[in-house]
């Protein structure tokens, strides 16, 4: 079974929407689905409660601005679902730029919320794992670059061949029981300090 479906009852949801009947309907439906729900209004500056999914009403006001800032700082761990009441280009742009995983249109109705949530969670999980892979690949790439640089320093300084430089870094890493990348960084740092 799809993970986002199977785990739906473990999801912590926060709803940012003025307290009215529609908000009550949204919270009630999320409870029927079986999520843990907290509705917050007005949003407080700099304080974003622990949540896996955030439903947020997009308006052109200070609250929206504050929330989006707080969410951007939180990074991709939160799945954002936009609640929209206007289809003006400004709102559409704000929603798209905020990186929402799904939208819910006003007036809010029960039907479709579960699907939106599962789709958004699935997209967000996929995005997280892609970002994770990119970060790992970037680390690896940085490591290669540092190795190349450290080797070339040793080759210039000591007149070694590329193979001799590589072996020197490797045996140093072995005897010091550290990663080769650490040895490379030390060599590069030292060169920057003492080099020409």
């Amino acid at each position: 079974m799809l993970k986002a479906l199977r785990d739906i009852r473990d999801v912590r949801v926060v709803v940012f929407h003025p307290k009215d009947r529609e908000c009550d309907e949204l919270v009630a439906q999320l409870r029927r689905i079986g999520c843990q729900v907290e509705a917050i209004w007005p949003p407080r500056e700099g304080l974003l409660p622990l949540a896996d999914v955030v439903f947020m009403l997009f308006r052109q006001d200070g609250f929206t601005h504050v929330l989006l800032k707080a969410l951007a700082e939180r990074g991709p761990d939160v799945t954002l679902i936009g609640i929209v009441e206007f289809e003006s280009p400004a709102v559409i742009e704000a929603v798209a730029r905020a990186g929402v995983g799904a939208i819910v249109t006003k007036p809010i109705r029960a039907f479709g919320l579960l699907t939106s949530m599962v789709v958004a969670q699935t997209l967000s999980t996929r995005e997280k794992s892609l970002l994770d892979r990119i970060r790992k690949l970037e680390d690896k790439l940085g490591g290669f670059r540092r190795l190349e640089k450290a080797k070339s320093i040793l080759m210039t300084r000591k007149g070694w061949s590329e193979k001799e430089a590589y072996e020197a870094i490797r045996s140093r890493a072995m005897s010091a029981r550290v990663a080769m990348d650490v040895v490379c960084s030390t060599i590069i740092d030292a060169e920057e300090l003492t080099g020409p």
Binding site: M1, R9, R32
Partner: protein, 389 residues
């Protein structure tokens, strides 16, 4: 429109059922049960003194016609309450109609869950109220390999998803999942039966609905499937049994919230009144019981609230249990479905003999996705009891 409650005029109730079509034989019993409840209410003085007048048309088991009839009943006949629907696609066709008009549909059948409308009262069971008990029963009796066959629509597909999850959770095996159209031909069903005969599963889980179900059971009997296999269902009720020659479904199991053999004073009264009104040979079933109880509940609530507004009726019903033939039931305030009594019965001498029943009504959980929590066990829980096994 829906909010007015004029004490000087009769209360019109739309009964949305098919008198012809592949599901008419069940819907006819639902209609009769609805009619019986309305007559009982009128005999007891009506709804806050108002006479209740039913209107009905033949919906032909056709979703588009259900939707048109719902519109006609509300807009032209002045119905403020609708009772009925059997198959899911017919309910889905009616829901937008009642939502737009602020009217109420009392839905009189079990379905697959995953729906909520403030304008619907869901009277029948959802999967958490019968499939779990059935799976536990079948696997507790040694069932390991399952063959799933159903009519191709939402209810069987979702029931099979739940069944497969439960079977896999207990290290059982699903051998096949097959679907047929509502108007399935004999040849098509026979191919499946031959496949069942070849695969020899421990259990056939059957959610074939309509008249095709009778043909399927006939073919199973001809092929001698029952020699190795238990056939279990959620939809084979007394109504389907009534279409079959005696003995055809002998030994088969059904999980439902009501059987005619439920022994309670309320049920004896219900069966007696129904047979007195519609004929002594007539038999009850879970869908008819749901239609009967739901009609009584909604009308009583309208009388107490002096309104037919959906939100007021729901509020009233959540606070007021009803002595239904199946046991005391009530509406869940949060999700608009009913607390009901799961049971399992075996066909014996062309009747259902109850072999297991819940000791308390089970809360509806229409949005339950994962039916096999870690504590799921094939032993019946302390809340269930075996009856005369």
């Amino acid at each position: 429109m829906a909010a007015t409650f004029d004490l000087d005029r009769p209360l019109i109730v739309g009964a949305l059922y098919s008198q012809t079509g592949p599901t008419a034989f069940v819907e006819r019993t639902q209609y009769n049960a609805t009619l019986l409840a309305i007559e009982e209410v009128n005999a007891a003085g009506g709804v806050a003194g108002r006479e209740v007048v039913p209107v009905t048309y033949d919906a032909h088991s056709d979703p588009a016609r259900f939707s048109q009839l719902a519109e006609r009943m509300i807009d032209e006949d002045g119905a403020s309450l609708l009772v009925g629907c059997y198959m899911t696609n017919t309910r889905q066709a009616v829901v937008p109609v009642v939502e737009r008009r602020g009217a109420l549909l009392a839905y009189a059948a079990p379905y697959e869950g995953f729906e909520y409308s403030p304008n619907v009262i869901y009277g029948g069971a959802v999967p958490s109220q019968h499939i779990v008990m059935l799976a536990r029963h079948l696997m507790g009796a040694g069932g390991k390999s399952f063959y799933l066959v159903g009519t191709r629509y939402t209810f069987p597909i979702e029931c099979n998803r739940v069944m497969m999850t439960l079977v896999a959770e207990r290290n059982g095996q699903t051998l096949a999942e097959r679907y047929v159209p509502l108007d399935a031909q004999r040849r098509e069903l026979d191919q499946i039966v031959q496949d069942i005969r070849a695969k020899r599963p421990d259990v056939v889980f059957c959610t074939v609905v309509g008249e095709a179900a009778t043909v399927f059971y006939e073919l199973c009997a001809e092929a001698g499937v029952a020699a190795h296999t238990t056939i279990a269902s959620l939809t084979i009720t007394e109504a389907e049994l009534g279409l079959m020659p005696p003995g055809l479904a002998e030994g088969h199991l059904t999980a439902a919230t009501y059987f005619q053999s439920v022994s309670s004073a309320a049920n004896r009264r219900f069966v007696r009144s129904y047979q007195a009104r519609f004929g002594l040979q007539e038999r009850l079933n879970a869908m008819a019981e749901t239609a009967y109880s739901l009609t009584h509940m909604v009308l009583a609530a309208a009388g107490r609230a002096r309104s037919v507004e959906a939100s007021l009726l729901r509020e009233d019903l959540a606070a007021t249990p009803f002595q239904a033939p199946q046991g005391e039931i009530r509406l869940d305030a949060e999700n608009g479905h009913m607390h009901l009594w799961p049971r399992i019965a075996r066909v014996q001498a062309n009747d259902f003999r109850i072999v297991e029943e819940s000791a308390a009504p089970v809360k509806p959980d229409p949005y339950l996705i994962n039916h096999a929590p870690p504590e799921w066990d094939i032993r019946p829980p302390a809340t269930a009891r075996a009856v005369g096994l």
